[in-house]
Symmetry: C2
Subunit: 301 residues, 2 copies
């Protein structure tokens, strides 16, 4: 058994069990990969992959269990490398942040600017995706940190830190009838609604708020992106339910916002990363920046 065989198992996993694709990824010829897999299985004394004739079709029961250990080895291997790089120069490196549009635009700017001041040598990659994809990106190590509100439940292999709590707001044109008078779920439900797509930015909390009342929301437009929602609200299509921090009285001067904290349960944005994954000091510092920015938000309110 050696580390390249372990690496091979990992790469096969990510490439439909294709030996030829794995060979490409590993920059060696396919026959070499075939040979190494045989050697590994012979050494273990039992097949790791199901086969139909010569082709690999999936993992055996044993194989599935072995993949957990492969993941552990891979994690530890990367940790050793990261640890050493961090020890040599903790000011340089790469930080992959996976997050949703709302966080990227309305929460991250301040902590990211502060972070860059302290760590100008760290290259930041920010990738936007759906909450579901964010988790995948953590697992496939395409991202170091995920910052989002939905989905990051108590997955056993994720470390989840609560970051900040926020409320939804309703936004509408200035002369809209909903801008005056008492705000109730009933009145809200009587207008066409524009809000986030399923699985995005606290949408689940909007659902729960209305599920209990028996009323149905007339959601005429769902988007992952707050700006899209605001754009169509400006066009008079209806009222928008967006994250409170996404309303800016200056930029959004055509619109008015009203807080929905009494009507819709609060949402919690979290920071998630892989358990057992060593984070370089700059990444730990970035998390601190996020938490202190979150602190400021809650004080300001």
């Amino acid at each position: 058994m050696n580390l390249s065989q372990i690496e091979l198992l990992r790469i096969l996993q990510e490439n439909d069990f294709s030996l030829s694709k794995a060979a490409d990824k590993m920059h060696i010829v396919q026959s070499a990969v075939s040979r190494q897999l045989q050697l590994f299985e012979v050494e273990l004394g039992s097949p790791v992959y199901e086969r139909q004739g010569k082709r690999l079709t999936g993992l055996t029961t044993l194989g599935r269990r072995i993949m957990e250990e492969v993941a552990a080895i891979n994690m530890a291997k990367i940790n050793i490398q990261t640890l050493a790089a961090d020890y040599i120069d903790s000011n340089q490196g790469v930080l992959h942040i996976a997050t949703t549009h709302t966080q990227a635009k309305y929460f991250l700017p301040k902590p990211i600017l502060r972070f860059r001041e302290k760590y100008p040598g760290v290259r930041i990659y920010m990738v936007e995706a759906s909450p579901e994809q964010l988790i995948n990106k953590l697992h496939s190590r395409q991202a170091d940190l995920a910052i989002c509100t939905e989905k990051v439940a108590e997955e056993s292999d994720l470390e989840v830190k609560p970051c900040y709590e926020w409320h939804h707001a309703v936004v509408m044109l200035k002369n809209h009838p909903l801008s005056e008078g008492e705000l109730t779920l009933e009145r809200l439900a009587s207008y066409p609604i524009l809000t986030y797509s399923f699985g995005f930015t606290g949408r689940s909390n909007i659902e729960t708020a209305f599920k209990n009342t028996g009323m149905e929301l007339d959601i005429i437009l769902s988007a992952a992106d707050t700006d899209v929602i605001k754009t169509y609200v400006r066009l008079g299509m209806g009222v928008g339910i967006i994250a409170g921090m996404a309303y800016d009285p200056v930029i959004d001067h055509e619109l008015v916002a009203r807080d929905l904290s009494q009507l819709i349960p609060s949402s919690k944005t979290k920071i998630a990363y892989l358990k057992n994954n060593y984070l370089p000091v700059y990444t730990q510092h970035f998390i601190d920046e996020l938490l202190s920015a979150a602190q400021e938000l809650s004080v300001a309110r």
Copy 2:
């Protein structure tokens, strides 16, 4: 980086950082070991070991942190091998049990006999040691399971299962004055005591019982071994405080025992093994045998 380099780090750890000893253990020449370590450190870009001249004297800060990852890799590697062996034939293998004399003699016989009936192909190694040493044996993988009462606190890398609860008893010669009348800590403390050594078989609970009273026990003999205690009690040296299950009315017909459950807090015997360590099915079965034997004990009482 490769697995034999990782193995080397682990072996160095266990051999006072001596390259020559490590070479012996790995069945290669010392110069090869020297070069592999250099290659590894060059690849990382930073030294893993502190040196005085040419000699290794210890780990660097980086090295200490790396050893955690080395342990993880080693664990996963062994798990893969165990997993495969278990998958091929789950009836064969080796089981290393580390425990104290009292458990080995008075608790384990029944579960071990039952286990052997079901798994005659499993070779059992039983090693007796002090509770402190048991933990070491788990860490150094000289033992798969540790069964004992003291010490196995909440160490972060140990999985600890409560097994059974028991009480101490006082044993003495048949005509001894303490065999009649009310049993109190005061009366007990007025006689010379024979009991377990520090750190053995619930000794800590005996301490706590008397610590609160302010009285001092006159312990004239401490032994790790119940049989030693009973032997000297038979010779009339004093009264023995032993584990309740270690008194057998037939074998110990010269002695009488009186329960101390009202005077000394109960003790809990636990089963411990390394976290993240894959246990073959027969080992899992052995744990089940232990737990059901424990169950029977508590029902009998």
